[in-house]
Symmetry: C2
Subunit: 308 residues, 2 copies
């Protein structure tokens, strides 16, 4: 089933200890759809400037990504430049130019309005509301956000939560949103405000899915060289939502697998600049990594008696 994805379509200039990439495709909608399209067709809504090289995303069209909802406007595309430090956990933003994204007003094309699954990438919560106003009662609404909106637009964001089934954010954002250092308390606070499910991304430490009375851990996939961490979170969301849309169920087993598929896709994203790793990634490699995740976490519970 098709996924409607609304988010940024950007150009990134990235410097890491391993190299440098200039003005390459980036943004939440790009990373998300590159990842999700391994599982399900994706319809993207976004905005770019005159100069955006949409042809560099042709490989996504071939994989079922419909880019007809990406508007071209007079002006410059959203541009972000950053530099990652030696340990790759910290980065400096060198430049952010919103360009045409500053006035982004998501218009959902008629043929996208009946999407059963909607992914709201990290944009202004008011715009996320407006997206939901334009769609026909989707079965699954998944949402991302960031500290900037938590600080500046808390009211709009909290009211949005009532319309969201799954919130995917990182651990700092979860703590900030719920105003508690404890992730378990934070998950209760957030789930009390609407989302049935909270997925907390913890970077190299993996991800945790919080549901009603249970939770699930996925470890971070250990990589010797994290080539470029940009987009890992959106690629995680893409694998997670893509798997759920393909699978068609939200039962616990599916949610567990979705968390692992998300982790696998996030781990592939960081192996190259931009969405380059997804150009050649094939399903068997995704399976292989999922099996590796199982190897890394499985253990037998049958144990001999414990001598007191």
């Amino acid at each position: 089933m098709s996924i409607l994805c609304v988010g940024s379509v950007a150009l990134d200039s990235v410097e890491t200890p391993f190299g440098k990439a200039e003005r390459v495709p980036g943004g939440s909608a790009v990373f998300f759809s590159a990842s999700a399209s391994m599982f399900s067709p994706v319809q993207v809504v976004g905005v770019v400037g005159n100069e955006y090289p949409l042809d560099r995303l042709d490989f996504l069209r071939e994989r079922g990504v419909d880019l007809s909802g990406v508007e071209r406007k007079d002006g410059e595309s959203f541009f972000w430049a950053g530099r990652y430090h030696y340990d790759l956990n910290t980065r400096d933003t060198l430049e952010t130019r919103l360009g045409v994204f500053a006035d982004f007003q998501p218009r959902i094309p008629d043929e996208f309005r009946r999407a059963r699954t909607v992914f709201l990438g990290n944009i202004h919560p008011t715009l996320q509301h407006e997206v939901l106003d334009q769609v026909d009662d989707p079965e699954l609404v998944v949402c991302d956000t960031m500290n900037y909106w938590i600080e500046g637009n808390r009211k709009e964001l909290v009211s949005l939560l009532e319309r969201v089934k799954i919130l995917i954010i990182n651990d700092e954002e979860a703590r900030q949103l719920a105003d508690t250092p404890n992730l378990l308390s934070a998950s209760r606070w957030i789930r009390d405000r609407g989302p049935e499910i909270l997925v907390v991304k913890k970077g190299e430490h993996g991800a945790i899915l919080f549901a009603d009375g249970w939770l699930f851990f996925a470890p971070g996939y250990p990589l010797e060289e994290v080539f470029d961490p940009t987009g890992a979170g959106d690629a995680f969301a893409g694998g997670f939502v893509g798997y759920l849309a393909q699978n068609g169920s939200l039962d616990p087993d599916s949610l567990r697998r979705a968390t692992i598929f998300g982790s696998a896709m996030g781990s592939y994203a960081v192996e190259a600049f931009s969405v380059d790793r997804f150009r050649t990634l094939d399903p068997s490699q995704v399976y292989d990594r999922v099996r590796e995740f199982r190897e890394m976490t499985a253990f037998e519970t049958h144990v001999e008696g414990i001598a007191p």
Copy 2:
């Protein structure tokens, strides 16, 4: 099979957001043996001052902890005072007085020298060497250390690694010891220097066991109230080594389970001050938590085809 444990036997004054404890039993050997004795008998070698209330550890004797190797010396016991912050991940050391521990010279009693399993708690690497010089070719030597020795006594520490089968340290220490931000590279560097197995403790983010060609993740057990984080690492080591000593095998399945048992014991340690949680903990509760760990990480790998 008995475990010989050499480490500190201390008094701790601890302040957390949840309360305060004054001069309660602490130290690596105390936390380790309180945890390990759930699985195997433990022989402790350490030193305390005149005033140490060893009777407060009587519950450990009843569980098979032999404290006859704990020397009493004229002077004060090792004393540590610390305060944990609101988020419990950072703490201030308010006071450290080494007391009689400053001149600690581990003397292994004759009846302890044939221990098949030796745990070298976090003490000077030269003393750890001296412990190994006094024992009869143990099957399993497990070692802990800390940043202080990595910085100040690197040479002695690195030569010790050749005599150690399993090194258990935290992630910062692993990175510092191997001088790399990448944990996978760090594990290779460390395992190249002797230990067949490296276990990296990551606090709330869990633990990773690195072995020859494979690794295993245990998540951090999610607790709403971490009452007192002191000793969690030693309790982890106690559960890990205790399970291995009881189980008698170092095959991958046993090592995986040991990592989970260590995680379970670490998670119990933080539910109360000092070793208080272990006074009433019973084996069935340990099993219950191990099963919870399985619930938190298990997923089915059987998945439907991925649509490209």
